[in-house]
């Protein structure tokens, strides 16, 4: 059952119409999600607009599947040479793990 639901979720994230940018791989191609049963890890381009698009997809997915994202128990890891100069997700209680703070 989880497999079916996350299967749909994966296709929604990969759907070009949602314009979600994932991680570009060295040999071309793009990865956006990886799941183990219902544990979902998303690989996303770090920009507020990209993250908001993801959130919109999740709202749709949750509406259809009756799932709920527990933002308070979710975490975001920032990986970049640059410092993160914007805020996102604090209103839903998302926890950020920034580089150097231990992963």
């Amino acid at each position: 059952m989880f497999i079916l639901a996350t299967h749909v979720l994966g296709h929604m994230l990969d759907d070009p119409k949602h314009e979600i940018e994932g991680l570009h791989l060295p040999k071309g191609g793009c990865v956006r999600d990886q799941t183990f049963v219902d544990d979902t890890a998303l690989y996303l381009k770090g920009s507020p607009s990209n993250l908001s698009k993801v959130q919109a997809v999740f709202e749709l997915f949750c509406l259809a599947s009756e799932a709920k994202v527990n933002w308070g128990k979710s975490a975001a890891i920032w990986a970049s040479k640059e410092k993160k100069e914007w805020e996102w997700g604090q209103e839903v209680g998302l926890k950020w793990i920034l580089e150097g703070q231990g992963v």
């Binding site: 060295p26 990886q34 998303l42 690989y43 799932a67 994202v69 890891i77 920032w78």
Partner: protein
């Protein structure tokens, strides 16, 4: 597609049943009929032909599944105060015959799973491992930083929505596949239950 379907729906064979029986780990708890898998393994040559007849009839819907689709819910203590119900974990013990049939069907499907489950999903498919997720995460963090991509690795916690039923009369109730009576301290369900067994 057609070929896959033909492969998965072909008649059961004796070899298939024998093979499934030998694959089970030993020493697991039996279900409501009290017959452990070990019995089937010891007498595989005797019981496999009987199972073949029974399973074939069941799959053809000529024989009811009533006997084998029973479970028995048993409580296992977790850590902590055992007078609290939340410190007990329920498991459903299923009968050996049911497990053998389920394994046979699962093995048939398993062969084609990799074609229908996206590579992004690393569970339940032979040859995929949860460790793949760890490796990808580590490599992704290194690669993104080196390559100058700003990466956000978002780890989501989804509430277990598929394991609860919201009780809304418009939604379908759980299908009645398995009937599972509760059992206390190893006694048969609701029979011979003495007060001392309800510690």
């Amino acid at each position: 597609m057609e070929a896959m379907n033909a492969d998965m729906t072909q008649p059961l064979s004796l070899a298939e049943i024998t093979e499934a029986i030998t694959l089970f780990p030993k020493g697991k708890a039996p279900g409501h009929d009290g017959i452990p898998i070990k019995f089937f393994q010891e007498y595989v040559n005797e019981v496999a032909p009987m199972l073949l007849l029974a399973f074939t009839a069941m799959l053809a819907q000529e024989l009811t599944l009533e006997y084998i689709n029973k479970g028995m819910i048993t409580l296992i203590p977790k850590l902590g105060d055992r007078s609290k119900l939340t410190n007990w974990h329920p498991i459903t013990l299923l009968g050996s015959i049911y497990k053998i049939l389920a394994k046979i069907l699962a093995r048939r499907i398993q062969e084609f799973l990799h074609l229908v489950i996206r590579p992004n999903q690393t569970s339940f498919v032979e040859g995929r491992s949860i460790l793949d997720n760890n490796f990808l995460a580590q490599e992704a963090l290194v690669w993104a930083t080196k390559n100058g991509q700003d990466l956000v690795l978002l780890l989501l916690d989804l509430k277990k929505h598929l394991t609860r039923w919201n009780g809304d009369s418009s939604s379908q109730p759980c299908p009645n596949w398995v009937c599972a009576p509760l059992r206390f301290n190893g006694s048969p369900p609701f029979i011979g239950l003495h007060p001392h067994q309800l510690k």
